[in-house]
Symmetry: C2
Subunit: 336 residues, 2 copies
DNA sequence: ACTCGTCTTTGAATCGTTTCATTTGTTACG
DNA sequence: CGTAACAAATGAAACGATTCAAAGACGAGT
């Protein structure tokens, strides 16, 4: 018995019909106690394991939900993924996670893959413009929920966080500290980042004499932050911003590394620093990092809920849930 | 075309046999240019997408590799997973990641699931004793590679890092700084942690008058570290260890938070602190954290390579690769 | 003894691919 | 013109589960 036994082998071994074995597996109530026992014994003896491919083929759908994120290494996404997995498990489904790495072609690759797998549904944090793809998917019966991106409710459901509000909160906080010359670090080519910037600019426009400079970083990683931070350190003190708002915590931690490394710049005295996402590591940074907290568990959980709603309605009813982010003040912007 | 078209529909539409469509998809060279074009056009028009379940059913195997880790939120594992995914992609396979959360029942659940999916192979960072399960899997033709755990080469292949050596390196470093009263923070019930402790104890035994106290933490997270750190702070200064070795960086960061929070203990002057894993955040901690670096990319990549070897040999030849960890000195243990 | 209803069990049909032995078509060569 | 050689296309038979109409078993009621 080197190879796996099939349901037919079990049937032969237990001297019943294949349909009976299937019933034992799927509708135990339909089977008499005696045969059930006999079948279960055979299953155990032969080491039978259901072939999911065959089951899916017949069923026409899998019990799998696809999730495409921009970067699994980013604690924000791993947290959302975790929550989604838990919620899906409760419904008897499994979540497959694909990492697009902010690359539209990888994103497309995973969408193809998940389509071939005939997933129950798709959760996606899109890189490019996926509107058309989503229409196609819906037509083919694959409900889709956008994650961390507001969707046109005519098209599909979505869960997101009000990024503009988050940006506003961050900048407002810096301005409330009395800082006037702000800098924004991030990659505004990403929609979320652009919104955060927009919110920040709105806050700045409400205060006389305040300004915000945009520093485009090469990516959203600790490393990118460090590189940008080095540039700030090189500037003459007068030319440096009084406060920096980074579009995520990884960037902020990188900037912090650069600034503190040379000890010429003090945080928050010389430059106040705030990040975004409030990842677990923010609190344990050189200078505990202020941040904007996003409800990641709620995002993941709600995404699954919305997907379930889509499925129930046959992909006709869409809903958008927008969460509000929250300011978390720590030492990097405190008492300055 | 609300529902998905099948290969049969494509065949009808292109006026060819189903086998021909399949050939276009799988063996384009066998098909003439003319028919190929016709078929491809039909595929595009009907929006045909291969049904992977059917393909798998026929093929008897999927192009999927299962990976079960102890905690995806832990950067060590997400890094390993990332590397494995990349390596697998290069071979045309996909990696599904399951998170056991150090729970044997969840681990078993994922093993069942992956078995039902008829995965090509399994990479697993085991919680409990999975020896028997692995034997069963091998019999059924599912090669398995242990990750971050040394395997009996009679049974299966493995990639791991010499944890005892890592523990030795860490403790030796602390002793070299002149510290004598050491403390070890971690959960020795985990095999890796126990080995690190053993290595540390070996280093301690080589130095006269040195001792190491074991503090069992409730988990391997930042939070668990913070709780344990609080206990250390509560102790009278004379009673505190001179150096602390944590079994991973998350714990170390937590301990660091507690110690620095109250400003009564200085790092590294009063207590030198070293972690394990050298995660990205170690460098950006309050006090940049010394650590033991593990070659995560190499682990992930090699795991896939070993799996491929297992497949080629039909699961008969096993190999164990052990990497050596590396000491990374930063401020948390520097110049003290 | 016969019918009816309930509970079990049966086994063929089905899902969408891939495979492969055959058939059909085409060209080249004696 | 016949035929060998090769290329291209065919279509039925798997793969392993689920489904469902139909058959079988059994007891109760008349």
């Amino acid at each position: 018995m080197s190879q796996t036994a099939s349901i037919k082998d079990v049937a032969t071994h237990a001297q019943v019909a294949v349909g009976t074995v299937s019933n034992v597996l799927n509708y135990p109530d339909r089977v008499s106690q005696r045969t059930k026992e006999r079948v279960l014994k055979s299953i155990a003896e032969l080491g039978f394991v259901r072939n999911d491919a065959a089951r899916q083929l017949r069923a026409g759908q899998s019990r799998t939900i696809g999730l495409i994120v921009l970067d699994v290494g980013n604690p924000f996404f791993s947290s959302v993924a975790r929550a989604a997995e838990d919620a899906a498990t409760a419904l008897g489904s499994v979540v497959l996670v694909g990492d697009s790495g902010q690359d539209a072609s990888r994103e497309a690759h995973y969408m193809d893959l998940f389509q071939e797998q005939r997933v129950q549904g798709l959760l996606i944090s899109p890189v490019g413009d996926v509107g058309e793809r989503i229409d196609t998917l819906r037509e083919r019966g694959v409900p889709t929920v956008l994650v961390d991106e507001l969707a046109d409710t005519a098209r599909c459901s979505s869960v997101s966080v009000d990024d503009q509000e988050g940006g506003y909160l961050a900048a407002k906080h810096l301005l409330d500290l009395g800082r006037r010359r702000l800098a924004f670090v991030g990659t505004p080519s990403i929609r979320q980042v652009a919104s955060r910037l927009k919110g920040a600019q709105r806050a700045v426009s409400e205060v006389d004499g305040a300004s915000i400079e945009v520093l485009d970083s090469a990516g959203q990683t600790v490393l990118a932050g460090r590189q940008l931070g080095n540039k700030l350190v090189e500037r003459s003190p007068d030319d440096r911003p009084e406060a920096v708002f980074c579009s995520n915590d990884l960037l902020a931690l990188g900037v912090m590394q650069s600034l503190t490394m040379l000890r010429t710049v003090r945080i928050p005295e010389d430059i106040a620093l705030i990040g975004y996402d409030d990842i677990d590591f923010a609190i344990s940074a050189v200078v505990p990092l202020s941040s904007i907290r996003q409800p990641t568990e709620a995002l993941g959980r709600t995404a699954i809920e919305l997907l379930a709603e889509e499925q129930e309605s046959g992909g006709t009813k869409h809903r958008s849930v927008v969460f509000t982010p929250e300011l978390v003040v720590r030492q990097s912007t405190a008492g300055a």
